[in-house]
């Protein structure tokens, strides 16, 4: 009984820890006076108003940013899933020249401080005339998410018994068809994780987008939100309202795939 109480107590404590900051943003977004700070601990006060949310949709380019972000994230996810699933399959099933090097360099890419890559990114993209174009972002986003996704997919493929493909190959299936028809369908948890990570990599990325996109018509959500922030005069209310809305799609995504999330992230490592 005491143990149960303790468990409940600690879980409630952590629940507050995990949810309070979000409520705090909510409370800022509901304030009318555009102040980040107030001396009350209440979330909703008598002066609370949804004006900031209305302004966000009517008086700013929020919808445009949302569309741009959705488009970019969608394409990035598509590219990321395609590249990760094929290359991870090759790494998992075949032994070829450069495999070990590839595996290690995938991991090593995670070790270089990402901020120092901005300058070279800019130079490559401007040489390719991809500044101010979504293509530049597609390439960078899908590739930066790749190392993690490839490792993730590979760990999952490793757990799929080889007999499955061998049977198909004996029956005369081509290798591509075997991959496409047999392996991909059973890998859905890992595919979902890969999709999620590719999506996250582009959805809330700010630094690279800020360098690549210069035309306000092409702005993504993080860039748009940042424009409410000036060094000495921030539109806190709008910013907070936008921040909440940005988090919603990710949360919905998490909830809808949480079943896969749990199995996809771990199965590879457990059995592999």
């Amino acid at each position: 009984m005491i143990k149960k109480m303790l468990a409940w107590f600690s879980i409630l404590l952590f629940a507050i820890f995990s949810i309070y900051p979000v409520l705090y943003v909510l409370s800022v977004s509901l304030r009318g006076d555009n102040a980040f700070q107030s001396q009350s601990l209440e979330i909703i006060t008598s002066t609370s108003t949804v004006k900031n949310f209305i302004d966000l949709f009517t008086a700013t380019n929020f919808l445009l940013w949302l569309r741009n972000s959705l488009f970019i994230s969608f394409v990035t996810t598509l590219l990321g899933v395609t590249f990760a699933s094929t290359s991870a399959y090759a790494l998992s099933r075949y032994r070829f020249r450069g495999r070990n090097l590839m595996l290690f360099s995938l991991l090593a890419t995670q070790m270089f401080p990402p901020t120092m890559l901005i300058l070279p990114f800019y130079i490559i993209l401007s040489k390719m005339e991809l500044i101010d174009s979504f293509w530049g972002l597609f390439i960078i986003y899908s590739s930066t998410a790749l190392p993690f996704c490839v490792w993730q997919m590979k760990a999952y493929y490793d757990t799929i018994p080889k007999e499955l493909e061998e049977a198909a190959l004996l029956d005369g299936c081509s290798r591509w068809k075997t991959f496409y028809k047999i392996i991909l369908p059973v890998s859905s948890p890992a595919l979902v994780i890969t999709a999620l990570f590719s999506f996250l990599a582009s959805w809330s990325e700010y630094v690279i987008a800020a360098v690549v996109l210069q035309d306000p018509q092409l702005y993504t959500l993080p860039l748009g939100l940042r424009s409410f922030q000036a060094s000495l005069a921030t539109q806190w209310g709008l910013y907070a309202a936008g921040a909440l809305i940005v988090s919603v799609p990710v949360l919905v995504l998490f909830i809808s795939i949480s079943r896969y999330l749990v199995s996809g992230l771990t199965i590879g490592s457990v059995k592999g």
Binding site: I11, F17, P21, Y24, V25, V28, D33, F36, Q37, S38, Q39, L41, L64, R67, N68, T86, A90, R93, Y94, R97, M102, L103, S105, L107, T109, M111, F112, P113, L117, L119, Y122, I123, S126, D132, S133, F134, I139, S143, L146, P147, V150, Y206, V211, Q214, D215, P222, A230, L232, A233, T234, A243, S247, V250, L251, F254, S258, S263, L265, T266, V270
Partner: protein
């Protein structure tokens, strides 16, 4: 659907060639605050109507970001035609040769129509024309609380004490006499000359080890500790919020803030910052301009002509009047100063009166080194770790060091030849020794394994372009003298940056701090993750609900998380301190102004951000543990702890170890949280980890070569570490 096609069309346009008939696009990057942005946009649209052959694309960037993205763009040989910003960006931009002297394109008489403040001179040339002048600090007071502003420092203190009140008697102050962002040196700089001499000579030499700076330090400390008329901790947002809510009688702020207070329907007055009694001198706010500069990279003469036309338009009478009338700035055109609209505006009149005691903002690049070292020492003083004497002495020393580091042009030594020869040799050796492998690799595209190669190819190209190439580019920079003065013609110089970094005790203390940061974070991520997973898995109903609840922190983008937590740790207003006060009756903690607690605040934030991932991984791991094991343990009468210790934990290890290793790498290199929560290393540069130190060296102090060298060292440390800890994993993998 249209908007989905639009970006594609747009990029198609970029690939295609522009035809002659298309209007010329002029890009303008600016950092105007919201209210000013609206006026700018209206002005530009009016211009486009009159000049259909030109269209202007304005892009907002926050000040620091504007600086770094403009530098990056200019390095790539492009960038906007026009850039708008405060006058202190002229120095670095001109030193890098990325903005153009305006004397080359405008008549000498053209400059005469402006207030000299609006046409600052750097090395005998004009680089900017400001649309307005000011940007200066003043005393702003709430007329509801105060009828007459204090004239001197004694009155300021007396009035301050009178208005610092605990109205409800709960022991905490409800209204302050004076508030201002006293954590930033810019806001206390006006006092320095008032206590003696200025903090910088006109030719950009720091002058910080002075009696004036000591007295100023003491003055601020007295306001806080002796007279207690300012809050214990007060950044810009706090000061602004207190003043707007009527919880502060007086505020020191700049002319840019008026619009905000007008919008809040405040009845406010402005005045000079009160005279210092002991010296009988007025505090001297820095007076400057924010204006337009021309990109040095414009090659097409038509673009240049169009850009100059836009520049002239934006500084014209018409546009200046628009800004003056709508957002109340003081026009830079001397003729407009004499118009009724300006002369009858009481705010502008008092404002120009305040400006009479001001000091022109220095534009030399060195000023950044002065601000930075002043900030570091000042914040240490506020945190109580330095006396005014030590702080002033240290500030001078630090400023001189930073300036010489910034202006350093490393000369090539024998190391550069070694590197050139060595890299040539390495490339040849690499090709020679791998020639068989390379041949097999190339042949692979036709051989029986071609399926594998085509499966790998897209990912390979992507990773190569985006990660491998930039990586080698950085290695090249790390051997070069790429910095402020060699921005456009850097060359390989040798190992100096590595020698400097490895010979600096700071590198090792930062490394130690980064290791602590990583270990503490990952420890909490993993232990909280496992703890929650076990409880959710065994004890609670509605597993899915709890799982979702604890995923929330993961769903919030990092930059939002960081700013939110920064607000929560605020001394005056943050919910954390309010909770401590209201429920635990503790005194408020000055989280962000003490190095230890500020670092702890960064850690708490990052723990919040990172535990959900580990929890999900642990939940997955738990599901794969067979129930029969627990049943056997029950039969053996093992208690809960024993079951956890001998069954759960060992079986979770294979899942948690790889996740934790990856977590370590991510945490080690996580810039966002430390940078944003500590506001770039505050207080006094004591909350840096290696990556934030690199970021600062590169983007704030223009030491690209040095920063690249440190980042290569970070990489080597991580590779070495992971090779050791992953040795087992790899042995299995590489078979």
């Amino acid at each position: 659907m249209k908007t989905f096609i639009f970006p594609l069309l747009f990029s198609a346009l970029l690939f295609g060639s522009f035809s002659e008939a298309k209007p010329i696009r002029i890009q303008l990057w600016h950092q105007m605050i919201y209210g000013h942005r609206v006026v700018l946009s209206d002005a530009l649209r009016a211009f486009e109507k009159e000049n259909p052959d030109i269209y202007i694309q304005e892009t907002y960037r926050e000040t620091e970001e504007l600086r770094s993205s403009y530098q990056a763009a200019a390095m790539g040989g492009s960038g906007p035609e026009l850039v708008f910003g405060p006058s202190d960006q002229i120095g670095p931009f001109a030193a890098m040769n990325i903005i153009r002297p305006l004397d080359e394109v405008l008549e000498p008489e053209y400059f005469n129509q402006f207030d000299p403040l609006a046409t600052p001179i750097y090395k005998d040339k004009h680089y900017m024309i400001g649309g307005a002048v000011g940007n200066h600090l003043m005393l702003i007071y709430n007329k509801k609380l105060l009828t007459n502003p204090p004239k001197n420092s004694d009155e300021l203190i007396a009035l301050g004490k009178q208005h610092t009140l605990d109205t409800n008697g709960d022991g905490s102050i409800d209204r302050y006499g004076l508030v201002f962002n006293y954590t930033e040196p810019f806001f206390f700089a006006p006092f320095i000359p008032a206590f003696g001499e200025p903090f910088m000579t006109t030719d950009g030499k720091p002058q910080l080890n002075t009696q004036a700076l000591r007295k100023t330090f003491e003055f601020i400390l007295e306001l806080r500790d002796k007279h207690k008329i300012i809050p214990k901790e007060c950044d810009y947002e706090t000061a602004n919020a207190l003043f707007k809510q009527g919880k502060a009688a007086m505020l020191i702020n700049g002319d840019w803030s008026w619009g905000d207070y007008k919008d809040a329907k405040m009845d406010f007055g402005i005045a000079r910052i009160p005279m210092i009694v002991s010296t009988q001198k007025w505090p001297s706010p820095l007076v400057g301009t924010a204006g337009y500069s021309l990109n040095a990279n414009i090659k097409n003469p038509e673009h240049l002509a169009a850009a100059i036309k836009v520049l002239k338009y934006l500084t014209s009478d018409k546009v200046q009047m628009m800004f003056t009338e709508r957002v109340g700035v003081l026009p830079s055109n001397l003729k407009i100063r004499e118009t009724e609209a300006v002369k009858t505006n009481p705010l502008l009149q008092i404002s120009s009166n305040i400006m009479e005691v001001g000091t022109p903002m220095p534009v030399v690049p060195e000023v950044r080194g002065v601000w930075d070292s002043l900030r570091i020492q000042y914040q240490k003083l506020l945190a109580g770790t330095l006396t005014p004497d030590q702080a002033a002495e240290g500030a001078q020393k630090l400023a001189e060091e930073q300036i010489s580091a910034m202006n350093e042009v490393v000369q090539p030594d024998f190391g550069s030849t070694v590197i050139k020869v060595l890299s040539l040799f390495l490339v040849i050796a690499l090709i020679w020794f791998t020639r068989n492998s390379l041949m097999t690799f190339v042949k692979g595209f036709q051989g029986p394994q071609k399926f594998v190669y085509y499966m790998m190819l897209p990912a390979f190209i992507g990773i190569f372009a985006v990660i491998i190439y930039p990586f080698f580019y950085n290695i090249a920079i790390s051997f070069s003298n790429f910095s402020l003065l060699t921005f456009q013609n850097w060359s390989i110089v040798g190992f100096q940056h590595y020698v400097a970094a490895l010979g600096d005790a700071k590198f090792y203390s930062l490394l130690l701090k980064t290791v602590i940061w990583t270990v503490v974070n990952v420890f909490f991520h993993v232990s909280i993750g496992i703890f929650l997973a076990v409880i959710i898995n065994q004890v609670l109903p509605a597993k899915a609900f709890w799982r979702t609840l604890f995923i929330i922190p993961w769903a919030v983008p990092q930059y939002i998380t960081a700013l939110t937590w920064r607000g929560m740790f605020n001394q005056e207003y943050g919910p954390i301190n309010q909770f401590l006060q209201q429920f635990l009756h503790m005194s408020p903690v000055q989280w962000l102004s003490q190095p230890f607690t500020a670092f702890a605040a960064c850690i708490v934030t990052n723990v919040w951000l990172g535990f959900p991932f580990m929890m999900i991984v642990a939940l997955g791991g738990l599901q794969s543990i067979p129930h029969t094991l627990y049943e056997a343990a029950y039969l053996d009468k093992a208690n809960a702890w024993q079951r956890f210790r001998h069954i759960t934990l060992p079986l979770l290890m294979p899942v948690m170890v790889p996740a934790a290793l990856l977590g370590c790498i991510w945490t080690f290199n996580n810039l966002n949280i430390v940078w944003l929560v500590s506001n770039g290393g505050e207080p006094g540069d004591q909350t840096h980890i290696l990556v934030s130190y690199v970021y600062k060296a590169a983007f704030n102090l223009y030491r690209y070569g040095y920063a690249a060298a440190v980042s290569v060292l970070i990489f080597l440390i991580l590779v070495g570490w992971s090779l050791i800890s992953l040795a087992n994993h790899f042995r299995k993998e590489m078979k």
